[in-house]
Symmetry: none
Subunit: 202 residues, 4 copies
DNA sequence: GATGAATGAGGATTCATTCAT
DNA sequence: AATGAATGAATCCTCATTCAT
């Protein structure tokens, strides 16, 4: 029965997402996973190793959720790009909905203190594809650079989910899509609008 | 000498911003503040009271930085609204730059666990004015609701600062302004653009 | 295949000699012995039973190494006694050399805490013959009692081996023999010397 | 009240002497010292630091007990040397009697694993003077080298004390002195006897 | 019989909080 | 008022022992 590792990872993710790394006691995780404390230490060398594996695990699921099967957006046609973005946005929404703990945990701030190099590599492996895509899409135009756009978009999405979690708003699919459409204008601001809350143009 | 309270608050903010609530030991804070541990407990009932006061203190400084002296944006003219937004954005930027610890701390996720009601009221006292303003500005249009827009904007800004802190990008004033201009389109997407990186199209 | 017991005893002796009883983990012993932890517990009831058996085993090997085949020293002639002593000394040296772990382990101090009665009997079964022999040899004379002499001699030998192990000196066979000769004078001090580094004086 | 450090050191010495390093729990030491566990950690960084300080402390007391006020034995007259040795032996006896825990602890075997460099220096600072004295005294003769003689003597004394502790014999001052006299022959074997339980010369 | 995964009591260490000075 | 030494509950982690396979 080696899904025990899996079970522990899941329990740890939930606990860390809820109370943070320092706010979570190892035995809490073990109990939530339904195993003895010592058992947890058979699978993970120590608390720090555990949080790193939780991090990488969640991050890789995020990457898969976003990128697997998405056609490389080597598109120079704007509406294709827009559809690509809409797809990403939809996938993000799905991820945040189906794996709220993973999403919340990944967005916590104080990771830096305990993440190891391996985890940092995983971190970059998610960003890099987006960045490259953005590069092709955006670099010719004026306005903010690709890094800035990505940061804004990512932050906007995170802010949306966080606001929902804190109860400041309630999101249905429609609103999520509208939000994505609004955000698209961050990417392609100075071009004729091609979509959004009802443009006559397709 | 009652600026001792002030000194402790500042030291605590820095520590909490850096290592989080659970990652920070009370004696660390006391030492950083240059007072005895016992002294800290004369000013703050316990660690939780301390973090709540730090939170409110920082949040109120943020509110002041954003709102004090900003003319009530009871404006129905779009360019006035845009200027109002640009002003807010600029102020946010200034705050994030001059009080990075405060900004970082306020954006940490795991506050909910220990914030008390009083702190939550303060939280709302910052959002409310923005929300009201947005309400007047936006509600007539279609597209995302005001809550969503505010969440997106706030998140976008936070994402920008966080990316900068993590070293993913470097921001100068120009870029910050451009970012703000881009974000403005989240607010007023389906209206003729009136500003920004100057598009030939009006 | 019941040499498994033997293998475990050997592995345990090495571990206990190196790190002491409390410093040695049972699974370490099992792994060093190449058996499963559970298996070890089939052969030994618990850690304490194990250490007791290790102790008795080692002690009995020491006894055998010292006493088996040594003619009962029912000698009243002094040079016969000296030869008997020299033989014991040589055997001790051989034992310490061929079974350094056994020797080291047996000399550890903190045995008392966990040795059981059976082990204590074994302990005595080694000393008794020596004591009896010494008795016949020495008791008529003045000077230290037999107990004292035995304690001194045994301690002297242990001290020699320990010093060697700690690197304070290096021993070859010649030096070991000389040391034995010197120690003989502890036994027969006030009698004319009959051997040793050759003195011209009788 | 800074004898708290002293009290902890004493309690720790007793516990370590009785049950060894690994067999002693830190809270046991704290309780024996009559302080809280946390207090112990204010005075000693961790268990290993504690045992090292206990070691150095005991070793230095031993050194003082042996060497302080002993006239430098730059003696080439044999009877002066013998008196010097008798004095050392007497002092050793006194130390073993008044500080049995210190003596026992210092003779434990498994120190090597946790002693730090500073402790090892202290170790040598006790041996060195003896070795130098022995050097002058002995090197001209044949027989065992100085290192060997020292190891034998030290071991003999330790064996004596250990035998007493284990109940194999009981020592009074007279017997201790006789034992010392016997041991002197280890040092000066091939010379005419000048003292001991039988000298015509005073 | 053999195994080693699982367990939880126990050990080392930290830290929020108190209180004598 | 200010301090920081003292405390012990709580934390991380280990390891003797069991038991299902």
């Amino acid at each position: 029965m080696d899904d025990k590792r899996r079970i522990i990872l899941d329990a740890a993710l939930e606990a860390f997402a809820e109370r943070g790394y320092h706010g979570t006691a190892v035995p809490e995780v073990a109990e939530a996973a339904g195993v003895g404390t010592g058992t947890l230490y058979r699978y993970f060398e120590n608390k720090e190793a555990l949080v790193n594996e939780v991090y990488r695990d969640a991050k890789q699921r995020l990457r898969a959720a976003l990128l697997v099967g998405v056609p490389d957006p080597d598109l120079y046609r704007l509406d294709a790009a827009e559809m690509w973005f809409a797809e990403l946005w939809r996938r993000l929404g799905t991820f945040a909905k189906t794996e709220p703990d993973a999403f919340r945990f990944l967005e916590m701030q104080d990771h830096v203190a305990y993440l190891d190099n391996k985890s940092r590599e995983v971190e970059l492996s998610v960003l890099a594809p987006l960045w490259l895509a953005g590069k092709r899409l955006r670099d010719r135009s004026d306005g903010p650079s690709v890094d800035v756009i990505i940061a804004l978009l990512w932050g906007a999405f995170v802010g949306l989910i966080k606001a929902q979690r804190l109860g400041y708003l309630r999101l249905d699919d429609k609103q999520l899509e509208q939000a994505g459409a609004a955000c698209w204008r961050l990417v392609a601001p100075d071009l004729p609008r091609t979509r959004g809350p009802r443009s006559k143009k397709s």
